[in-house]
């Protein structure tokens, strides 16, 4: 009996389609390892793997394609080697690369029948979502955190896309909260990691994603002071070879800077003022404490003397490493690098102590500073299994029976499934029309794009603006400075997306206009945004014109933004928003999944009768929240129809 007999029996005709398919898997981590095994043993013909990560010890509790001997090697390559052995009939290709690289362009994405996202960050997820929409390739998106998991089928124009529901953005804190008026442990941890560590051992960070400079206008003078302080701190680096290095840092940030803060009397009228620390007192209290030994005791909260000992010891260790580095090289914070973690944990706690804020154990600080998401093999296995089951629906062109699946820790139902939601008309990623042109970016100017493509070909008459990656290139009302610049000068590369926004005010438009489809009516209504993909082609004279398209009209302006709850992880205290609870699903920032069932709740409307098949039972009046809805079921039973014909050859 040949090896694929069993799969053929169960999949029927679909098996052939799977054998001939070419799929892409982005990410070879927790879900990726499981998924790759499933894809290989299901017999997908050609599988491409892209991942930019290398293997770490903490991956081995779940990423079973890797062993101790693979630590520090590229995930994509090792995954391919290990999994490849298990089915000689499958062609595997692996790239140790960032999926955002220019070479992975729309054309490349178009070469796949299906894309799987097995990623761990929001940014890459959104990128792949965008590329799949542009290439019109179905995407299976997945994520896990602890016991939670989620699988979503995305097909441009037919289902919701990844960005149809806004995702919670990573937390940031006002600069002043971090630098002058912390009130919670996380403020001190961010201070130690993104300010103190970065200034002393790393790359000075004028702007860290965790610091929000926009909220500082109320106190311009304080900002200036802070800048000077940071400058002084940077200068301390010169003393790195001195045996007093730890003392220098200590007296700077825990004594002098605090004294200066105290002198800002207004600041402490209603707040508890911090207490500057005295080096001699603290260091003598810690005379008999071994910092290197203590650093290993990470579950317990250290006291003042203990924190000091770890601070002094880790500073020594880091200084030694700094001195061994080549010129221009610096250290960077890594939660798995004990020296950097010890320094951040001890410094954060010292600051907490002088501000009378609760201190934290090193174990907890590791999670808060490193954005650690709990992860286990079981959740990944379930999630990856669901990805492949959804892939079967997509490959069968049976999107209506595909499901959006949530995995949760409730025991009444292990998983909940719901029908994929229709696209959000207001979504900036998929609620757009798309065209593609080729241009010689060294010759063509922005003016050529505006005139030849946007005005003449796409027929825009009124006011428009053009943006790329959130930057305005052109605005017919007040910004045409760059019309004579070549696209290359404007930063256009091999493939660049620009968005044309119809700036027509739609307030006075009659509703009926929206329904009208003919070209004349289009002139009356406001159009949806149009994304133009411009690829560089040196053989083109200037710019090609796209085939004629009918641009859809924008939906009426949204009065109230759609309610999406994302409050589970945020709470407030003092003057900054933050999270202090360390429960598994409440993480301070978003990493392995960007949203789970806990983040995402929404109303599901039962399909109206007109949208449902003729023989279907409808659950009237049941709109559920994040709960299961019932797929339209034909009276004939699903199983056999669904699975195709029995083919036993």
């Amino acid at each position: 009996m040949p090896r694929d007999t069993r799969v053929r029996k169960s999949l029927g005709t679909l098996h052939t389609r799977i054998k001939e398919s070419r799929v892409l898997m982005v990410g070879a981590g927790g879900i990726g390892c499981e998924l790759l095994k499933n894809l290989v043993l299901t017999g997908f013909g050609e599988i491409h793997i892209v991942d930019l990560d290398t293997i770490d010890l903490s991956n081995l509790n779940r990423q079973f394609l890797f062993g101790m001997q693979h630590i520090k090697k590229p995930k994509a390559i090792v995954a391919k080697e290990t999994a490849g052995k298990f089915n000689p009939n499958v062609k595997l290709f692996a790239e140790h690369a960032n999926i955002k690289d220019a070479k992975f362009n729309v054309k490349w994405f178009k070469s796949f029948n299906l894309v799987f996202n097995a990623l761990d960050n929001l940014d890459a997820r959104r990128h792949v979502n965008r590329m799949c929409l542009a290439a019109d390739v179905p995407l299976i998106e997945s994520g896990t955190t602890g016991y939670y998991g989620q699988v979503q089928v995305i097909k441009g124009g037919e289902t919701e896309c990844y960005d149809c529901v806004p995702k919670p953005v990573p937390k940031s804190f006002p600069v002043c909260t971090i630098r002058s008026t912390p009130s919670q442990p996380i403020h001190c941890i961010v201070w130690a990691k993104s300010y103190l560590f970065a200034e002393v051992f790393g790359t000075s960070q004028e702007s860290s994603p965790e610091l929000d400079p926009s909220e500082n206008s109320e106190n311009a003078q304080e900002i200036a002071n802070l800048k000077r302080e940071a400058e002084e701190l940077k200068n301390i680096r010169e003393k790195i070879s001195s045996p007093d290095f730890a003392k220098c840092i200590f007296e700077k940030v825990f004594t002098r800077d605090i004294e200066r803060l105290l002198s800002m009397e207004d600041m402490w009228k209603t707040r508890t003022p911090p207490k500057p620390m005295d080096y001699t007192t603290v260091s003598s209290s810690a005379a008999h404490v071994s910092g290197s030994y203590l650093a290993k005791d990470d579950q317990r909260k250290w006291n003042l003397a203990e924190n000091f000992a770890v601070f002094a010891d880790s500073t020594k260790r880091l200084a030694k490493r700094m001195l061994a580095l080549a010129d221009g090289e610096v250290l960077s914070f890594d939660k798995d690098d004990e020296d950097t973690l010890d320094f951040v944990a001890a410094a954060a706690n010292l600051r907490s102590i002088l501000f009378e804020i609760e201190s934290k154990s090193k174990f907890d600080i590791k999670q808060m500073a490193g954005n650690i998401i709990p992860a286990i093999a079981t959740t990944n296995a379930i999630t990856a299994g669901l990805c492949v089951l959804q892939a079967f629906k997509v490959m069968r062109n049976d999107l209506k029976n595909a499901k959006m699946v949530f995995l949760n820790k409730s025991t009444e139902r292990v998983i909940t499934a719901q029908n994929p939601a229709p696209p959000n008309k207001y979504c900036e990623e998929c609620g757009v029309d798309r065209v593609a042109v080729e241009a010689n970016v060294e010759k063509a100017t922005l003016g050529d794009v505006v005139k030849k493509v946007v005005r003449e070909r796409l027929g825009y008459k009124g006011d428009i603006s053009i943006t790329t990656k959130g930057r305005t290139l052109y605005d017919s009302i007040d910004f045409d400075d760059d019309v004579d610049s070549t696209l290359k000068e404007l930063g256009f590369a091999e493939e660049t997306f620009i968005t044309v926004v119809d700036e027509k005010d739609d307030d006075e438009e009659d509703k009926e206009d929206q329904e009208m489809k003919d070209a004349d009516a289009q002139e009356k209504g406001k159009r949806v945004n149009v994304v133009i993909a411009i690829s560089h082609n040196p053989e083109v004279d200037l710019i090609t014109t796209p085939p004629p398209i009918k641009i859809r009209l924008a939906p009426p302006k949204l009065v109230e933004p759609e309610p999406t709850t994302s409050t589970s992880a945020t709470a407030t205290n003092g003057n900054g928003k933050h999270t202090i609870d360390l429960d598994v699903e409440e993480v301070t920032e978003i990493s392995e999944v960007s949203e789970g069932p806990s983040f995402k709740k929404r109303k599901i409307e039962v399909l109206g009768e007109d949208k449902v098949g003729p023989n279907k039972m409808s659950k009237k009046d049941s709109s559920a929240e994040g709960d299961e809805t019932v797929a339209p079921l034909n009276d004939t039973v699903v199983v056999l129809e669904d699975e195709g014909v029995i083919t036993i050859d």
Binding site: R6, R62, G146, A377
Partner: protein
């Protein structure tokens, strides 16, 4: 043990298991590493389950299987390679699974469940068995599984075609760390003296402007919402004959009263602490209650009259019961959890309030410990055998503790049919959603199990005789329904699922095996670590609908 070496230094092991320690802690990890799992049936499903237990580091496993590896195995089982063909399946899978994690010890036996039940019965007696947990993967026969002891946690798994059925059989599970979403318990209707005093003190001048000697805007906007609620509840009671707002209407009136006191002439036009207070009203304005899960535990005979041989869990629940019943202690309430939510406040006043709850929780835990130690003495056990740490973990969770009494397997298969079982199946068949209920998967798989028990091979294994096998399975399904006195006959959906079982011919689909591996191992981990709540007692997955259902058979 697992994570920490004697001097408290973390090992590289701790780093390796860091991501899961954040789910179940050193406690859970130690339990996992003390487990010895027996797997009967080295099918793809069996190996995928074991894989997900070997990776997080169970202590030991033993694979029992009497098959020889075939070419077809390679197509579904990731833990077999070309070299394995023709060799012992137990030996090869044990070797390849052991390679996954050097911290885990693997063993194998070329044998079968049926055979061992008679040849080595000591393997299955709780007092002599080396196994702490047993996994049996289909095919298995009904008489065999009925011989398994309900005292050893056992996981029976079918993974056939597109369906998975997991049945858990285990002695009573007592779970303290159920990991609820929040442990916060504000006791707004049941404040203790010190809390009331703090609320009075901290809300002085709340409703007066700074110019009239009251609070300035900054202070006013930073009074923690819990104190706001306590203060305004007092005001409300003064106007309502000492009664709390109890129903929806009154709570809304209370909310309006509270929001009326919010200062709106401040930047932003509203105060966050007042908004937080308003948002907390519906959920938190209530009498401190005891959850039905906790009540169930407190009414268990083992709690009411614990005996010396019982686990600490029952001694502590008894101590909590005493706490509840003592007017000087809980006076009808459970110990306070000490959990406290985040809120808008000045750091100092937040910590003060948080400590108020913590101190009360510590006081409650200390009282429970006293009760427990007195009970231990009375029972002739060492009073020090229960620690404050153990009690504190318990009192933190006392409103969320769970007891699961697993129904024995014998009830599921008894003749005449057990009444509970009969009702469970018939209710599902008669329910409005019967069309898509997974009860049909259960009936089809049950028919499969009867076929296998009677005929000794898979239905549909041979291409000839498919029709006959279908008829036989339908007959087994029909017989089963008859034992339930179900008069509806075989539903079309059951028939179709039976056909699907015949079509599978006893074969597995890798993706279903892999899903089963995750789902079953997850439940096993919950049972081993005694954390989170495992399924009671059967979970069914339908791979076509991507849907699960839980039944207590």
């Amino acid at each position: 043990m697992a994570c920490t070496t004697p001097n408290g230094a973390p090992s590289s092991k701790e780093k390796k298991y860091d991501r899961q320690l954040r789910l179940w802690g050193a406690n859970g990890q130690n339990k996992l590493e003390a487990a010895h799992i027996a797997l009967f049936g080295a099918s793809a499903t069996g190996c995928e389950i074991l894989k997900n237990l070997v990776l997080p580091s169970v202590g030991k496993f033993t694979i029992i299987d009497d098959k020889i590896v075939t070419e077809a195995d390679l197509g579904t089982n990731f833990f077999l390679d070309e070299e394995s063909v023709g060799k012992s399946r137990a030996e090869r899978t044990a070797a390849l699974l052991e390679e996954l994690n050097p911290d885990v010890k693997g063993a194998f036996m070329n044998d079968s469940l049926s055979n061992l039940l008679s040849s080595k019965p000591e393997l299955f007696k709780p007092s002599t068995s080396p196994f702490t947990h047993i996994i049996v993967v289909s095919p298995f026969s009904t008489p065999d599984i009925l011989q398994l002891s309900p005292e050893i946690p056992t996981f029976l798994v079918h993974s056939l075609g597109w369906s998975i059925v997991l049945r858990i059989m285990a002695p009573t599970r007592c779970i303290v760390e159920t990991h609820p979403d929040s442990l916060a318990d504000l006791r707004l209707f049941n404040p203790w003296e010190e809390l009331t005093a703090l609320a009075v003190e901290k809300t002085k001048g709340l409703d007066k402007r700074a110019s009239e000697g009251g609070m300035d805007n900054y202070e006013h906007g930073h009074v923690p919402y819990v104190l706001l609620l306590l203060k305004y509840l007092d005001d409300w009671k003064a106007e309502h004959n000492g009664q709390y707002p109890s129903n929806y209407k009154e709570k809304n009136e209370f909310k309006a009263m509270l929001l009326d006191k919010m200062r709106t002439d401040v930047p932003g036009g509203s105060e966050e602490n007042y908004e937080e207070a308003a948002a907390a009203i519906m959920k938190n304005l209530k009498q401190a209650d005891i959850s039905s899960d906790a009540k169930e535990v407190l009414e268990d005979p083992r709690c009411i009259n614990p005996t010396a041989d019982l686990e600490n869990f029952w001694i502590i629940t008894n101590a909590v019961r005493q706490f509840r019943d003592s007017p000087a202690q809980g006076a009808g309430l459970l110990p306070l959890s000490g959990g406290f939510p985040d809120m808008k406040a000045e750091s100092k006043s937040y910590v003060e309030l948080q400590n108020m709850y913590r101190t009360r929780a510590q006081r409650d835990a200390a009282l429970v410990l006293e009760n427990a130690q007195a009970t231990l003495s009375k029972l002739g056990r060492d009073p020090e055998s229960i620690t404050l740490e153990e009690v504190s973990l318990f009192t933190k969770h006392s409103n969320f503790i769970r007891r699961i009494n697993y129904r024995p397997l014998t009830c599921e298969y008894s003749l005449p049919c057990d009444d509970h079982h009969r009702r469970t199946v018939i209710d599902a068949l008669n329910n409005w959603d019967t069309e898509e209920s997974l009860i049909h998967d259960y009936i089809a798989i049950r028919a499969f199990q009867e076929y296998y028990s009677t005929i000794g091979r898979f239905p549909g294994a041979e291409d000839k005789g498919l029709k006959k096998d279908q008829e036989m399975l339908e007959a087994f399904a029909g017989d089963y329904l008859k034992t339930l006195d179900y008069i509806g006959g075989l539903a079309d959906r059951t028939k179709n699922l039976v056909q699907e079982v015949v079509r599978a011919g006893g074969s597995e689909l890798h993706v279903i095996a892999s899903f089963a591996g995750g789902m079953v191992a997850q439940e096993i981990v919950k049972v081993i670590t005694q954390q989170y709540i495992p399924v009671n007692n059967t979970v069914i997955f339908d791979g076509i609908q991507s849907k699960t259902a839980v039944f207590e058979f």
